[in-house]
Symmetry: C3
Subunit: 502 residues, 3 copies
Amino acid sequence: MKSKFKTTDTFNKIWGLNYWGQRLNDWSELPPRDGIINPGWKLEWERYSQWMTTDFLAWQAAIVNEYKRPDQFVMHDFAGPPRPEVNESDVVKSLDIAAANPYHGTQDQFDGEASSYVGDYVRSLKQTNYLITETNAEAIGWDSKEQFPPYDGQLRLDVYTHSASGANMVEYWHRHSIHYGQETYWKGVLGHDLTPGRAYDEVSRTAHELQRIGPEIVDIQRKNQVAILYSNDSYYGIEFMKFSDRVNYRTILRQMYSALYRSNVGVDFVLPESKNLSAYKVILVPPLYVASDAVLAKLVDYVKGGGNLVLSFKSGFCNEYSTVRWEMAPGPLRNAAGLHYQEFSSLLRPLALKDDPFQAGAENRVSDWAEMLIPDTAKPLTSYDHPFFGKYPAVTRNSFGKGTLTYEGTVLSDKLQQSVLLDVLKQADLTGPDQDLPRPVRVKHGSNRAGKTLHYYLNYSNDPQTFSYAYHFGKDLLSQTAVDQGQQIAIKPWDVIIVEEK
Amino acid sequence: MKSKFKTTDTFNKIWGLNYWGQRLNDWSELPPRDGIINPGWKLEWERYSQWMTTDFLAWQAAIVNEYKRPDQFVMHDFAGPPRPEVNESDVVKSLDIAAANPYHGTQDQFDGEASSYVGDYVRSLKQTNYLITETNAEAIGWDSKEQFPPYDGQLRLDVYTHSASGANMVEYWHRHSIHYGQETYWKGVLGHDLTPGRAYDEVSRTAHELQRIGPEIVDIQRKNQVAILYSNDSYYGIEFMKFSDRVNYRTILRQMYSALYRSNVGVDFVLPESKNLSAYKVILVPPLYVASDAVLAKLVDYVKGGGNLVLSFKSGFCNEYSTVRWEMAPGPLRNAAGLHYQEFSSLLRPLALKDDPFQAGAENRVSDWAEMLIPDTAKPLTSYDHPFFGKYPAVTRNSFGKGTLTYEGTVLSDKLQQSVLLDVLKQADLTGPDQDLPRPVRVKHGSNRAGKTLHYYLNYSNDPQTFSYAYHFGKDLLSQTAVDQGQQIAIKPWDVIIVEEK
Amino acid sequence: MKSKFKTTDTFNKIWGLNYWGQRLNDWSELPPRDGIINPGWKLEWERYSQWMTTDFLAWQAAIVNEYKRPDQFVMHDFAGPPRPEVNESDVVKSLDIAAANPYHGTQDQFDGEASSYVGDYVRSLKQTNYLITETNAEAIGWDSKEQFPPYDGQLRLDVYTHSASGANMVEYWHRHSIHYGQETYWKGVLGHDLTPGRAYDEVSRTAHELQRIGPEIVDIQRKNQVAILYSNDSYYGIEFMKFSDRVNYRTILRQMYSALYRSNVGVDFVLPESKNLSAYKVILVPPLYVASDAVLAKLVDYVKGGGNLVLSFKSGFCNEYSTVRWEMAPGPLRNAAGLHYQEFSSLLRPLALKDDPFQAGAENRVSDWAEMLIPDTAKPLTSYDHPFFGKYPAVTRNSFGKGTLTYEGTVLSDKLQQSVLLDVLKQADLTGPDQDLPRPVRVKHGSNRAGKTLHYYLNYSNDPQTFSYAYHFGKDLLSQTAVDQGQQIAIKPWDVIIVEEK
């Protein structure tokens, strides 16, 4: 078979000339990445590096496709997606099934968020179910500094966390812990003594449950009305011109995800190239620092058509080459946002929002960055409590076409971010009883092969929790108990209830 | 033209032999700087490196001098002077005019000190007026982490800060912010949108003022009675044998400057080779760790002739080769200082001075280093509050010839340093109404081309200030208002008043 | 003479094959240490590196032995023993006398522990007296950041500290401080001024005392009933798979030593290859992570025969190749310990022991590591105060044969460690009046050449101390004053009393 892996030719075709304007014969002639001080060049370099991986995996998949049986499939296990070094959305075009290896905090750090974050992202890649091909068993670590065996119930709860997110399989790295080498403490389902223990027993119990209820929960379909736009390019663009050592593209991305997760709002990911934006009532946009005019036009159209967009600071600042736009910021988004700005300031110390508009108390705090926003048609939602910055709004909202654009000109505290997002969701009529559950209880909804609606309730805490069941009559698949609408349900520590509606 | 830039020959002529005593054929035979463990050798290496820059610039200047018109001049813009890597006082011998590029804190960090520090130093280099060739416009940074656009008024106030220090021009790095590359966020007078904004408006207003009052403030002559002795060699000598990770030659140099600046005391810089010491009533000497016998003799003569010297610890410890003197410390300074010492100690924790002699409260604190001083004829001014160190004075004063030598054997807190220096200034009859101004108001004095006296009052704060004008009848050049001696004057936030005496 | 230093041949004989299973022609073919991710290989590499030093020193000693006079001796000065990079117990086989260069804290950091720690270890190497060939004079440092000249009396007290531990000589690095080079601030008995000062005077006074009482204190014999097992291999095994950035093999080793030192309990060191374990009533074992079956069997026999063993967590985990044992932990120690475990956890935050069993208050705190111990026959002494870990004991004790094994499954605070160890010593009938001395007073016992018993009392504080003398009638060698049993004795700051029994 002829390989498509023609690095140098392709690269030359793309770039033609090297950094000094000479013809490139070999990509090794390029200056080292750290030596490139033009952020645009650094970004192209990252794109090229991603493309090499995509191309290589596509070539491998093509070879496998020549020989595999019809009942076999091609899969790749993404480590820690979304991972900026890899263009996962391009890679999946060569795959039959997407898979991921999410590792996460355990013991007091286990709340299901890390597993759900990876799951929601991987599910969005092919917009269907996926596999978990590695995850925490007894403990992990390349030394013994972070050995945190899960509390009783956490291994099982993690399996149902994945299942509720859309995973059709959960697999562990190895059966038994190994006795030498780098992964001595990356432990298996069995320990070094090769004897069944606590982890083995729990995995075994869960497997037997899945044997029983698997057909009713496999191939779960999720229908979410909220999406987050993920832009790998914006991550790199900001990294090359960081605005903070503490906050970056990924922390805001994760803060937005986390606010939704803790509010029990189901979420998909969309990408700059996605064509299905209008499927969502609300789209959240972490700092979209690098984007072409076409991508920005698509967002403007989304609002015009009735969508509710939440836009972070720095969005629209650079074009697709990470070059700052030489028009009034935020460039093509100006009309939809209903504002412009000429200046921005780092914040040496956090500032309060005037009059604590969200009753956030000690968390009434913005930091790191403040765009000096000047509303054209937008309404200020809140402003800074500061002699100089006080004249600029911190968050605005603009009605544009049939939709709204909420603009965040600064880095909000977690509590403020959650307040702003819940306010947007409420405006979009997306809130309800799921937001009233006890703090450690998560709920996820979907429908199974038989088209029946499933409600997963998961308790991520050491304490039993009680809540009122808000949906139609059904039964808990695990206990086979009937559940009525409005009924009080008790859920044990680190336990799960899966209600299948009638 | 024949270049004078003959590195290897000159170096061999200076050094002759390499580190191992063999004849050097090429300076690349020298061991790497970090490998040289003899501080004397490391110092010579730095001197050689400085000489290369001096020689290169002299060669360039000589070429320009062959071709330039009589109305043109040769200038060099020093970045962040005093800068140890460059021997600025040697470089200026080839220049017609000295210039500097001082960048400084803005917003709440702007108090004029950084601009004045650089200005006082560059003015002292050629003992006349100088140019500012780059300084903060909208914001600076090689990423976007420290974008601090000035508050309203600060850009203008900075121009007058430079003018009062002796600058005949203030120039910015570029007109408009650039859209890609390392200096994307090193912003110009215009932003990326290329449209006039807040910064442009303020620069424009100031330029129009200068058009009007320029002839009355240009070529200001400063006459100061206090000087600070700057020794580049001592900086390096101490760096090679650091006494603290927190304090070094430059922190003490700056602490002394800062104490004078905040007390509204005008200051020049002198250098070890300066011949005009007797022009000053008071000279402050940061740790003069490296100095020849001749330099020390000059300081002794200064005191003998009636000067008031303030000498920091470690002064006189090494000769000009950074070799410790094998006589009783502080070597040739012993008689003038009226003390000697055999031992010194690092201080693991700060100590208090006994009985808080300067009412410094929480700032009654010395740290890092304590010489175990034994007075011969000196009078102890204060001692340590400690069972072991208590027997040694911390600061002493000795009358010698017609002058005095005040010796600081330890690292003083900022407040203690200011108290000790003000005490010396008071003894020298150099204090007066300038020390009674409101805390954020600075005053600077000089005389203009017409020989008239100028008084600049500058308000570095967000609040209006009021003070009593203490000098002869005159008028404020900016408002053209008359000002009487003893009159109460109100000065707006980040504003300036320039009184020209009749 | 034919050298025994045949690195490559010997190495090949030992290893035969390289990392990739190919025949090694040259040890430089090995991958760099950092590249070896198999902890077992890394350990072998360290052993080989140690062997090179041992072999080289043996070769040097053999040459000297050919030529030295009968009254001369071969000695080596170990820097900072125990030092993992050197196999000191192998090196001493080529030496007539062991020596060491201990440097230690002075001023408020001087308590004699660092000098005693090195002394006890070096004395144990050849089980006899030793020399101190370098130690602190005026001050030390490769720069001037940590210049801490001793308080009055500390230089002399340090000499007697060494003498009480078994040193037959105390020597300083150099007579006078040098004037240039890296060790400019590594000061001698004289300062840079070459004139006698405070340090010289104290050293001189001490030397004259030794001239007088030397014959009565030289060749002191120490007889200790407690030993600490030191395992160099375990240090490396744990370093390659660290369980904490804060705690490691050496911190626990030192914590155990320190607990004994502060309790005035004399201690020897033993090594995995030692054959004299039964000479001790109590043996403390820091984490014996790497040990052969034979070494573990020796420890089991020690307990069986009546010894009292204190065993730290992680002991017995790996065999001599740093490979985890594939049997139930703690492997061959299981029966003697009377427990087993399948899991262990890092502790994200310190935990308290339930009900503060040792009245340790704020120090009732364990951290970093917790083995989930399951007692077979052992008795739990204390357990964790935690919902999940509460079911596992933290410390256990098992009676086995005629002895006991106390097992510590976690990292104890200093106070808890001291409490656990004093409890073991009390059970072994090894406590008495020495534990009742004032906090800063240390006592050490031995016998001199004449067979008379010596008691050194040393006051490591700025304050005078008083205590009751608990031993037989004798006289203080320094003051020649008689001392009766039960007599109250006053001891001055940083002073020493040496009682020789009649």
